[in-house]
């Protein structure tokens, strides 16, 4: 069997009717990995023996739960008890035996999902192409000369190539949505606080969120229903009831008001991406929604604001990697300070060091007010832009990324160019609102284009509703990359 051919709901029915076993599912996952992952390189660590053992145990039980027995992948910055967790960094190369599971992993384990392995990512989630991984370069299943996007590139590629049923990623400035767009799959960044960050290796704690990457909107809503919710171990997690997101998938957008910011279809966005988004706007109008052009006037300041704030927070988050309690320690050091410096310099890659330096600079005496505090104030203006639009509109629509997937090695030499790839996703993290990317087109080069749907704080319900209606009215989510044998 092929994981491609079914939704989560269909697999649950087949398991219920004993048409397939959990072992069939897990075997299908590893068969597909053996078929395509030499080329795709989505995984850093695989856990085959353990996964097969669990599958056998589940087949002997008669439990029925949402997501039961499904083979899944986790971005490698999500901590897994007893399973190596590197966060894409050499400094965690030997972190083979983490002591606890992230809260999202605990929740998935309660449902008896099966973790197939840990997925490649830009080191500490800093990047847009997964090229900054210390381990390998993941390829885009649609064109293996191109990046899968980043930083959750392994997660998006593994789902797009049919290696797992779904994956979790994390999104600080677009790291779920942009690779989902580049790989033609569905990626959701929930509202800040919707999902516990306990056990997520911190990059920028006021921006990070974990979210699902799936092949359909319905699958996505089902996964978020499981991983969302309050957690006393994350004091920033929201103490709110989690709605049944799947109830929102009614295919009805009549009377909804959709805002289309002119800044999201401006300079830097390719014509093909603009055309695909404009076609989506027309589709929504034909479905009975009202679409109007609006302005988010501070959008152009988002990139600078983000790089100051995210780097400043990262410089603090990454202070914990000191070669003392876990991770790699440099050898032949002179003293304590030398041990810190050499362990960190040898363990961190170039991009991570660049951001630590930028963040430390922005926080240093004499520069704090000019950069860090100023950026926090501009963040307020960006957040206010969104709140103003949401007084009148239900969701905001635009492209997820300004371009389709770029070629491996293409942009890596210039940090500012590569940062600009996140220009349409970053404002969402700064405002803390939820947003999804769904496939909305294929370029002349055969590469997927993503449509971004942004909602109000804690209104994932409407984001899913709007995404699902588009998906059901189009065929983009049914297209599969032509890789390996079974992908048709």
């Amino acid at each position: 069997m092929s994981l491609f051919d079914h939704s989560i709901k269909e697999l649950e029915e087949k398991l219920h009717n004993k048409e397939i076993s959990v072992q069939d599912l897990v075997k299908a996952s590893f068969d597909r990995i053996k078929e395509v992952d030499d080329e795709i390189q989505a995984f850093i660590t695989l856990d085959e023996e353990n996964a097969m053992k669990q599958a056998k145990e589940l087949d002997e039980s008669s439990e029925e739960k949402s997501l039961f027995g499904l083979p899944i992948g986790l971005k490698d910055n999500i901590v897994t008890k007893g399973l190596r967790t590197t966060s894409g960094s050499k400094i965690l190369d030997n972190f083979n035996d983490p002591l606890y599971d992230a809260e999202v992993v605990e929740k998935l384990k309660e449902q008896k999902t099966i973790t197939i392995g840990k997925l490649n990512m830009d080191e500490f989630a800093m990047g847009s192409g997964t090229e900054y991984s210390a381990y390998k370069k993941t390829k885009n299943p649609w064109d293996t000369d191109r990046v899968p996007g980043g930083s959750s590139g392994g997660s998006a590629a593994a789902v797009a190539a049919g290696e797992v049923m779904f994956a979790l990623g994390s999104d600080t400035g677009g790291s779920i949505r942009q690779p989902a767009a580049f790989c033609g799959v569905v990626g959701m960044k929930p509202t800040y606080g919707r999902v516990s960050r306990f056990g997520l290796v911190a990059f920028a704690s006021s921006l990070d969120q974990i979210g699902p990457i799936t092949r359909t909107v319905e699958d996505n809503a089902r996964v978020l229903e499981v991983i969302a919710g309050h957690d006393e171990k994350d004091s920033t997690s929201a103490n709110l009831e989690v709605p049944e997101f799947t109830d929102a998938l009614t295919n009805d957008v009549k009377g909804l008001k959709i805002a289309v910011p002119k800044e999201y279809l401006g300079e830097g966005v390719t014509q093909e991406v603009k055309d695909a988004v404009k076609a989506a706007v027309e589709k929504y109008e034909s479905l009975g929604a009202t679409c109007e052009e609006v302005s988010l006037p501070h959008s152009k300041y988002a990139l600078s604001t983000y790089y100051i704030l995210a780097s400043a927070e990262a410089s603090a988050s990454l202070a914990r990697f000191d070669g003392v309690r876990y991770g790699v320690r440099a050898e032949n050091v002179e003293d304590m300070i030398d041990m810190y410096k050499r362990s960190r310099s040898e363990g961190f890659g170039e991009e991570v060091k660049r951001r630590i330096m930028l963040g430390t600079f922005a926080l240093s005496s004499g520069y704090y007010d000019a950069y860090y505090k100023k950026a926090q104030k501009v963040r307020t203006l960006i957040k206010n832009d969104f709140e103003k639009i949401f007084e009148e509109y239900d969701v905001i629509l635009g492209p997820t990324a300004p371009t389709t997937a770029f070629k491996l090695g293409e942009e890596i030499n210039d940090p500012l160019t590569i940062y600009a790839n996140d220009i349409l996703t970053i404002p969402v993290n700064l405002a803390g609102v939820p947003a999804i990317s769904v496939p909305c087109g294929v370029s002349s080069e055969g590469l997927p284009i993503g449509l971004q749907i942004i909602g109000k704080h804690f209104d994932e319900v409407n984001v899913y509703r709007v995404a699902h209606a588009f998906e059901q009215a189009t065929d983009f989510h049914k297209q599969r990359p032509d890789i390996g044998g079974a992908a048709k």
């Binding site: 983490p98 604001t305 100051i308 003293d335 030398d338 630590i356 330096m357 240093s364 501009v378 307020t380």
Partner: protein, 99 residues
């Protein structure tokens, strides 16, 4: 407007960040930081006189809990098992004071 970021400034920041960098790296970083900071200068266009800074997007009250030890979490032995070096139930590090 910030002055040019000097190599010395970069060395100082690296020291604060507990990173060891070579002269060559410092020169390259000075250039790269300069270009990113120059881009960020655009923020000075905006009047933010009466704007409150956002440190956190969702309204949160102080989140309190009792400060109680939890024995069901991890043991001392477990806490040490990923450590590069440990001795007598403690993390071991190089000497802090020179002899």
């Amino acid at each position: 407007m910030a002055d040019n970021i000097s190599k010395e400034r970069v060395m100082h920041v690296a020291d604060l960040a507990r990173l060891h960098i070579t002269d060559e790296e410092a020169e390259k970083l000075a250039e790269e930081l300069q270009s990113i900071i120059k881009h960020a200068e655009q923020l000075t266009e905006l009047d933010t006189t009466n704007v409150e800074p956002t440190t956190h997007v969702i309204h949160l009250e102080n989140v309190m809990r009792k400060d109680e030890p939890r024995t069901d979490w991890i043991t001392q032995e477990e806490a040490l098992k990923n450590a590069p070096d440990h001795k007598d139930g403690q993390f071991r590090v190089p000497s802090i004071l020179s002899e």
